[in-house]
């Protein structure tokens, strides 16, 4: 089942980012999809990449300090009153 024209798992994991971004050439993309259908290991690797992306998106951002917001709004008023706003 593993011919020379087929991707190995080791090759596939190096293509995963481009695959998820739809940046592979069509033939390559199809090869990856065909491999994924048959390969439990690579399906699991892909589940780890999806999981990694979910974790990254969930990383909480810090809120700006209220003082920073205050300084910025004040700067905005100064900027507007100086007639820079049109």
């Amino acid at each position: 089942m593993s011919g020379p024209e087929e991707l190995t798992c080791r090759e596939l994991v190096d293509l995963v980012t481009d695959y998820l971004d739809h940046r592979l050439a069509l033939g390559r993309h199809v090869q990856v999809e065909q491999h994924l259908v048959l390969c439990t290991g690579c399906q699991r690797h892909l589940s780890q990449m999806h999981g990694t992306l979910r974790v990254l998106r969930a990383v909480p951002d810090d809120e700006l300090q209220p003082e920073t917001l205050g300084v910025l709004m004040e700067a905005f008023h100064d900027w507007r009153d100086a007639g820079e706003a049109t």
């Binding site: 593993s2 481009d18 780890q48 998106r57 990383v59 700006l64 820079e84």
Partner: protein, 224 residues
């Protein structure tokens, strides 16, 4: 006024035009909503370049002042968000360079090096002439079955934060803008001034490293 994520590029450009005109008119609510929408992510990006949170806040503050000074020159060739982040990255780089920042690394993160690639030992050695050379020696674990409250739990998020901080600067900036801030590949290239090819390689390495750190953490938790 809320900053919605535009559903199409055309909708995004229209939304940008609306916001830019509001700013030029001196619409305070538009400015406040932009700060609320981008401020927290900007703070995270800035944190990657400078030593303290306080300095990062200053960088964010300087960026918005730069936005106000430059808003009349904004021509909409990139999205407003990309333009804001480009200013931010330039300020943060300058501040970071003047600080000569050195990062502390945790041992957990150091272990996941080698360009973030999957451990070669995970695959059957092809050089031995094995029929299955290059295939998984043992299947990795599926994360689809990891309960949501564990995968996205406080412990994993803390480890992910640490892993992000420990990335080399160029990998970190691409990963944060793409995967945390949600910019498109094109937006990241414009904001950072890197080529598309570079962006792809840096992102792949950075994601790989974070994945390995998370994998180690999940394994540890399971064994405990």
């Amino acid at each position: 006024m809320d900053i919605a994520t535009p559903s199409t590029p055309a909708a995004g450009r229209a939304e940008d035009r609306r916001l830019v005109e509001a700013l030029r008119r001196g619409d305070e609510a538009a400015f406040a909503s932009l700060i609320r929408a981008y401020g927290p992510t900007m703070l995270r990006v800035a944190r990657g370049y400078v030593a303290t949170r306080a300095v990062a806040e200053e960088v964010v503050q300087e960026t918005w002042l730069g936005v106000l000074r430059g808003i009349d020159r904004f021509e909409g060739r990139s999205s407003l968000k990309t333009w804001v982040f480009r200013i931010l990255v330039n300020r943060a780089r300058t501040r970071g360079a003047s600080e000569h920042r050195s990062m502390p690394f945790s041992s957990l993160v150091e272990a996941a090096d080698e360009d973030g690639r999957v451990d070669p030992a995970a695959f059957i050695d092809a050089s031995a002439g094995a029929t299955w050379g290059g295939w998984w020696a043992a299947y990795p674990k599926s994360w689809d079955t990891v309960p949501e409250e564990r995968l996205l739990g406080r412990e994993m998020l803390a480890v992910a934060s640490e892993a992000i901080e420990a990335l080399p600067e160029r990998q970190r900036e691409v990963l944060v803008l793409r995967d945390v801030a949600g910019l498109s590949p094109q937006e990241v290239c414009t904001a950072l001034g890197v080529t598309d090819g570079n962006q792809r390689v840096l992102l792949h390495r950075a994601r790989g490293k974070v994945r390995r750190v998370l994998e180690a953490q999940l394994g540890e938790t399971e064994a405990a």
